[in-house]
């Protein structure tokens, strides 16, 4: 029997795909695939460090996509869920996928296939929520700025949506939890990391980083939010079901509730 191997990659998606490539290429018996920031040596396995190689990653990407467009989306979305041990599950998922003839008909009674598609579904929901719950604030240097704190690493997924929609304004969405952001400079989107002195969530104190008219519009939006609800139909349970409390501190219309 082959000795089993633990693959260590750099934490990027391309790194992971390279690891998958290496595992297929060298016919490794994979014990685990781990990020280099949080790796743990196994007692009975060798470790191999993977160096990210874009060409190899691309071959894996295309290979999965040729099997099924649905599957490549599932793999990418589930990877971004950052769940512990998702890499090995994805590797098994890819193995199963490559074993099928068409890749279209996956048996959802299989535990791993079901779990990956459920993870992907969760990340997809968070992506959709972030497209809705980002609240831009206009800074003095004409940048629309927003803080977010999503459950999963969805910034790469929402970047296209915001680029297509706000093509004529500079904007910056910053993930407070993962300490990086995406910035659109009227031409393309780039990744940035900031040295934020404070996080701009709902506070009664006005920050001088923003224009004064910014707070006027926030007040108007607040007013609109209040006057559009019908008192005789009030339903707080349904409200928090749609707008979970963990997002409230970044939503300007919930300023008073927080």
């Amino acid at each position: 029997m082959n000795p089993s191997t633990t693959l260590i990659y750099d934490g990027s998606f391309n790194g992971f795909l390279t690891a998958v490539f290496v595992a297929f290429d060298e016919k490794l018996n994979v014990a685990d695939i781990q990020k280099n920031s949080e790796c743990q040596n196994g007692l009975f396995s060798e470790t191999e460090t993977i160096f990210t190689h874009v060409e190899k990653a691309k071959r894996v990407w295309n290979g999965i996509r040729n099997k099924s467009h649905n599957a490549i989306a599932n793999v990418y979305f589930a990877f971004l869920s950052e769940t512990e041990g998702v890499e090995l599950m994805l590797y098994t998922y890819i193995q199963k996928l490559m074993g099928t003839k068409s890749g279209k008909q996956l048996d959802y009674s299989d535990g791993i296939v079901l779990h990956i598609s459920q993870l992907a579904r969760k990340v997809g929901r968070e992506k959709h929520r972030m497209e809705a719950f980002v609240r831009f604030q206009l800074t003095k240097d004409e940048i629309y700025f927003a803080n977010i704190e999503p459950d999963f690493d969805v910034l790469p997924l929402i970047s296209k949506h915001f680029r297509d929609r706000y093509a004529d304004q500079q904007w910056l969405i910053y993930d407070v939890k993962r300490k990086y952001g995406i910035f659109y400079n009227l031409d393309h989107v780039e990744m940035v990391s900031l040295n934020l002195s404070d996080i701009h969530y709902n506070k009664t104190v006005k920050s001088d980083a923003f224009k004064t008219e910014e707070y006027d519009y926030q007040t108007l939006w607040n007013d609109y939010f209040k006057s559009t609800s019908i008192k005789s139909r009030i339903n707080p349970k349904l409200h928090t079901q749609h707008v979970p409390k963990r997002y409230w501190k970044y939503l300007s219309e919930k300023k008073e509730a927080v």
Binding site: Q105, D107, Y108, S109, H128, E131, A132, F133, V134, R135, F136, Q137, L138, Y144, A146, H161, D164, R165, Y166, A167, D168, Q169, L186, E213, D216, Y217, T219, L220, W221, D223, Y224, F225, S227, T228, S229, I230, S232, R233, I234, N235, P236, K237, L238, H239, Q241, H242, V243, L251, E253
Partner: protein, 420 residues
């Protein structure tokens, strides 16, 4: 910008517009042109939710709440003593753009009270949409209200800028309309609808020949009916809804439980309860008609002019038609699966996919998400256990109600409660 003035106007005019139920931003696929502002998302995005749990995806306001009509059910009617206000065109444009840039909304929903004449009002609405599209290069979602009685030329122009147009029919019966809105004629509502429908058909056929034909109201038309204001039956409501779906190719008909806003002998008194359960049952029926392949006369007819309040319309249909059941989920065709109470269209799709791999039993169906407490009386599957007793409809209904709970149950239950 005179901030306080705008603030006051927004409060008045958003408050008056909130009784319009529709806030959909879906169904249109406008893309961002020439590095402009905005696009629309095919499935729509709800940016927030009101404290009554309805979606906020559009800036929903009236251009003005001045009105020359005196419709009894309406909060902005002529005889009502409320604060009146009106937006300037530029003010609406500024508000929309600035809200949109901050990602608060998907676009604008502009309605209006009727001042001077229907055409004069419609012209203003179109002017706002035109300014947004042509001067601000705005490609977000615009929903315009068609003003009853507006001319065909204006309706044509409105469709060129808007994604969706809607006329609220409000009162489902013509006799009710005469009673509650004596100034309005039924034809005033249907004329703009017909014009828009014909244009949509024309543009669609032209698009097949010339790809670059501009869009005309890509998200179609919708309408709204008030429920519980004029003593109409559920049959009246659903038959006229079916008529609008068929004749004017409506994308949606909305049902709005009447919220009492005025003291009027013709209407329910202020403070009476909003018929939310009835509204819910009507929407369930609407879905059965549009997605489940039911015909309206199967659910509502002269023998059953009203929907059951204690069970959903599909279950109530099934209890009246027990001779169709039990259905075998492993062999029945799609239409029949969709008629089993407790199985929704998503479950139907999953069942059809899953039964290619293996014969399904109760465990599979439970995992798929079928509501077995209702479904188990109406189906058989790959299991020796199924309902063998010869139960009559009343018995089944009683057993289902006993093993389930509903949030509206206390409204119709005959069970006395100890603590009230």
């Amino acid at each position: 910008m005179d901030f306080d003035r705008i603030r006051e106007k927004l409060n008045i005019l958003a408050d008056a517009a909130k009784y319009d139920v529709s806030c959909a931003s879906s169904g249109s696929d406008r893309t961002n042109k020439n590095q402009g502002l905005g696009n629309t998302s095919r499935m729509g995005i709800c940016h927030s939710y009101t404290s009554d749990g309805r979606c906020i995806s559009l800036l929903k306001i009236l251009l003005t709440n001045h009105c020359i009509f005196d419709c009894a059910y309406c909060v902005t009617r002529k005889s009502n003593d409320v604060k009146r206000a009106a937006f300037k065109i530029q003010e609406v444009v500024d508000l929309t753009i600035n809200f949109y840039r901050r990602n608060y909304i998907e676009g604008l929903f502009l309605s209006s009270g009727i001042f001077k004449s229907p055409d004069y009002t419609m012209e203003r609405l179109v002017a706002v949409a035109k300014k947004l599209r042509e001067e601000e290069n705005f490609n977000g979602y615009i929903h315009l209200k068609s003003i009853p009685g507006a001319s065909d030329e204006l309706m044509y122009e409105a469709g060129l800028y808007a994604d969706r147009l809607s006329v609220n029919i409000e009162v489902p019966t013509i006799s009710g309309l005469k009673l509650l809105a004596p100034d309005k004629k039924h034809e005033d509502f249907t004329k703009p609808m017909l014009k828009v429908k014909n244009e949509i058909v024309r543009y669609k056929s032209e698009r097949k020949i010339i790809r670059s034909t501009p869009k005309y109201a890509p998200a179609g038309q919708s309408t709204q009916m008030i429920v519980g204001a004029s003593g109409e039956t559920d049959k009246d409501i659903m038959y006229s809804a079916t008529y609008y779906y068929r004749t004017y190719q409506m994308r949606r008909v909305y049902y709005s439980g009447y919220v009492p806003v005025a003291d009027d002998a013709r209407l329910p008194a202020i403070g009476s309860q909003v018929p939310m359960l009835r509204e819910n049952r009507l929407y369930q029926t609407d879905w059965l008609l549009r997605f489940y392949g039911f015909a309206v006369n199967e659910i509502l007819n002269n023998d059953h002019p009203n929907l059951d309040m204690d069970v959903d319309p599909k279950l109530s249909w099934a209890l009246r038609n027990l001779h169709h059941f039990p259905v075998d989920v492993n062999s029945a065709e799609k239409q029949l699966l969709a008629r089993i109470p407790g199985i929704g269209m998503q479950s139907v799709e999953k069942i059809i996919k899953a039964r290619k791999f293996r014969r399904l039993n109760w465990d599979h169906l439970k995992k798929i998400g079928v509501a077995l407490n209702r479904a188990k009386y109406f189906m058989v599957c790959d299991s020796r256990h199924w309902e063998r007793r010869d139960l009559d409809a009343e018995k089944i209904k009683g057993m289902i109600l006993q093993t389930s709970s509903g949030k509206f149950r206390n409204q119709y239950s005959t069970q006395l409660s100890l603590f009230n």
